[in-house]
């Protein structure tokens, strides 16, 4: 009798989660000077502080699952497995970008990993996730649809319509509300009469749970449980992931709506700092390990920047391509 195949050790798994979060953090940090140099234009929304959400959730998803994301999606895309080069080239608007440069920071798409954007209309992605889940169900496939959205989206009608439809039709949708407390500059309590977001799902008979979105283990655990239930046929489920963005809403934000002390308090319980402390305290990681992971992440980011830099622009002659699907000849 053979033993079951060994899973990753605690050390390996802890380092994997930390590596993934560091990759996102380094990528986002590198975007800031690139934006200043005008290499990246348009609106850009960084994910600093929220890394545990993307990384934790992605541990629970399989290649056959569909993902719908928001305009703050660099982290989701990296954690899903798109290459940093394709993402950075997209931010540059180069033809080697994940959307051929047509989308930019807010519209990262990737058919290979079933990454359906990159939706910059708040709440607009939720109906798509419902439909992707419906397609799974009607074709008797095992995939689920995982849908990220911010807490600002719950004020939109599309949130309520989508929750109802997913529950009514018993569809395999994992609703992932990233509650970072501010819809752009509007604090949650200034826009919602009920600030316990997860409770809203109950009105649609969708099981829901608040999760500490700064704790990657908590996110991973909650996501694995949720995905198992959904794949087991229980219908949709909502996780409210309580998190915080460390940087401004976009690159045009003086942050007049929150004070520095609040930001600092959250930074002290940031997902990377806390995981690092835990791994070190448990004797699972050394400072050298951390330095190595951070260095590797930075090297990967620099390679992505170099790739974007040397990539070509799409010729203007192709401007009107992709308005309609190009038929296979």
């Amino acid at each position: 009798m053979s033993a079951p195949p060994p899973g990753p050790t605690m050390r390996e798994h802890g380092l994997h989660l930390l590596r993934e979060m560091l990759r996102i953090r380094c990528f986002e940090d590198r975007c800031v000077p690139l934006y200043g140099e005008q290499k990246i234009r348009g609106f850009m929304h960084l994910y600093n502080g929220e890394e545990a959400v993307a990384v934790g959730v992605m541990q629970a998803l399989e290649p056959q699952d569909a993902i719908v994301s928001t305009y703050r999606e660099h982290g989701h895309a990296i954690a899903r497995g798109l290459t940093m080069g394709a993402i950075m080239a997209e931010l540059y608007g180069k033809r080697t970008g994940s959307s051929g440069g047509r989308g930019g920071s807010m519209h990262i798409f990737d058919a290979a990993t079933r990454f359906y954007g990159g939706n910059a209309i708040v709440g607009g992605g939720l109906p798509l996730a419902v439909g992707l889940a419906l397609a799974e169900k009607l074709q008797q496939r095992s995939g689920i649809a995982a849908c990220f959205f911010g807490e600002g989206a719950v004020a939109e009608g599309e949130f309520h319509e989508s929750m109802n439809l997913a529950a009514l039709w018993h569809l395999p949708v994992l609703f992932l509300c990233e509650n970072n407390l501010y819809a752009m500059g509007t604090a949650l309590a200034r826009s919602e009469a009920e600030t316990e977001i997860h409770l809203k799902a109950r009105g649609y008979r969708v099981p829901s749970l608040p999760v500490d979105g700064m704790d990657v283990f908590a996110v991973e655990g909650a996501a694995r449980d949720a995905v198992a239930r959904i794949r087991g046929g229980e219908g949709p489920l909502l996780l409210e992931l309580r998190t915080y963005r460390f940087r401004a809403h976009s690159m045009f934000d003086a942050q007049l709506y929150r004070d520095r002390a609040e930001v600092q308090t959250w930074q002290e319980k940031g997902p990377i700092i806390t995981l690092t402390k835990r791994l070190k305290a448990a004797g699972l990681m050394t400072e050298e390990d951390f330095q190595r992971l951070e260095h590797e992440a930075q090297e990967e980011v620099e390679a992505a920047v170099a790739f974007a830099e040397r990539s070509d622009w799409e010729p203007v002659a192709d401007l009107e391509r992709h308005v309609y699907a190009e038929r296979v000849q």
Binding site: A66, V68, G97, S98, S99, G100, G101, R102, G103, H107, F109, D110, A111, Y116, G117, G118, N119, I121, G124, L126, P127, L128, A129, V130, G131, L132, A133, L134, A135, E136, L138, Q139, A145, G157, E158, E161, S162, N164, L165, L168, W169, R321, H322, V323, Y324, A325, E326, R327
Partner: protein, 328 residues
């Protein structure tokens, strides 16, 4: 209402098209408000729930944005959904999904994702349904790159356009004129599919081209009949597809008749008729013997009483009068 022997109604032709598509392709399903148990707001889908069951004929809540968006998602996920919206006025509740997602995803994703979705909806006036059920907004939708806009006006097009739309890798909106559902005619035997990129000459003529689509086609044909009695031979051109517009067929006709009148149930300002007029002026200006003219709906939200609704809409009388103004 059943049609005469050998004839079918526009409604029945539309239903036949849905039934044939459902039978031909297991990826096709229909969803919308009251399409199942009720049989469709305009009775187009009557009987389909019994034949195909609730998985494929899906009644939806009154959530236009969610079920249109779900249609887009299902199309992305490999299905071929037909989404029915009761009327074009209600489609505005789903305009975000139609414009920001259906029309945009292919381009925004660099061509990775097509949206092979068909949305059917009723359009137009003539039933005294007042100002929130009667408008003709297909011209707005024709403004949007990424969409294909079809306006079946004949029995054959009601039967054949759906199959072509479902075969398209792009989002297709089909506007069914409320005024046409009870019209009837012969269906070409064996017809399954029609091409959806060309306009069609429905009545040949040499003196003027009446350019129209949808519910106004029959008004133009009636006007042309009356004009013929007065010795004026009007050619009647059915655009059929509002996006992409078939410039070639339009210009070919106008270059022969040297006069053009556009009849459009939409409002005049900034409407489809303005677009067609501009194209004629751009491409066939020196072939014209008279200014291009328009007959459109009066610029009011459509009123309820019959006499005011009639006065607001294009009519054979207004068309005849406009033609006489161009052919002195």
């Amino acid at each position: 209402m059943s049609a005469r022997a050998g004839h079918v109604t526009y409604r029945e032709a539309t239903r036949q098209a849905i039934r044939a598509a459902m039978r031909a392709d297991p990826r096709v399903f229909l969803m919308g408000e009251d399409v199942g148990a009720y049989g469709g707001c305009f009775a187009v889908t009557k009987g389909l729930l019994q034949e195909f069951g609730p998985e494929r004929i899906r009644d939806t809540p009154l959530s236009e944005s969610a079920f249109v968006g779900a249609g887009i998602g299902a199309a992305l996920g490999g299905m071929r959904p037909i989404v029915e919206i009761m009327t074009v006025n209600f489609s505005l509740l789903a305009l975000d999904q139609i414009l920001n997602n259906a029309a945009t995803l292919c381009h925004m994703s660099g061509g990775q994702f097509g949206v092979p979705l068909v949305i059917r909806m009723a359009t137009g006036a003539g039933r005294q349904l007042a100002a929130q059920h009667s408008h003709s907004l297909e011209g707005w939708y024709a403004h949007i790159p990424g969409l294909r806009i079809l306006t079946p006006a004949t029995i054959d097009d009601a039967r054949g356009m759906l199959s072509s739309a479902l075969a398209s890798p792009d989002p297709v909106l089909i506007f069914e004129s409320i005024a046409l559902y009870n019209t009837e005619g012969e269906l070409t035997p064996g017809l399954e599919r029609v091409e959806i990129e060309r306009a069609a000459v429905r009545r040949p003529g040499r003196d003027i081209t009446l350019i129209t689509y949808g519910g106004s086609l029959h008004k133009c044909l009636a006007a042309a009949g009356e004009l013929a009695g007065a010795g004026i031979e009007a050619e009647v051109l059915d655009l059929r597809t509002l996006r992409p517009l078939d410039d070639e067929t339009v210009m070919s006709s106008v270059r022969r008749t040297h006069r053009a009148l556009i009849v459009d149930e939409g409002w005049r300002s900034g409407g489809l008729a303005a677009e067609v007029c501009t194209r004629i002026v751009e491409q066939a200006f020196y072939d014209l013997d008279a200014p291009v003219a328009r007959v459109c709906t009066a610029e009011v939200p459509l009123p309820y009483p019959r006499h005011l609704e009639d006065a607001a809409l294009p009519s054979p009388e207004r068309i005849v009068a406009a033609v006489r103004g161009l052919i002195a």
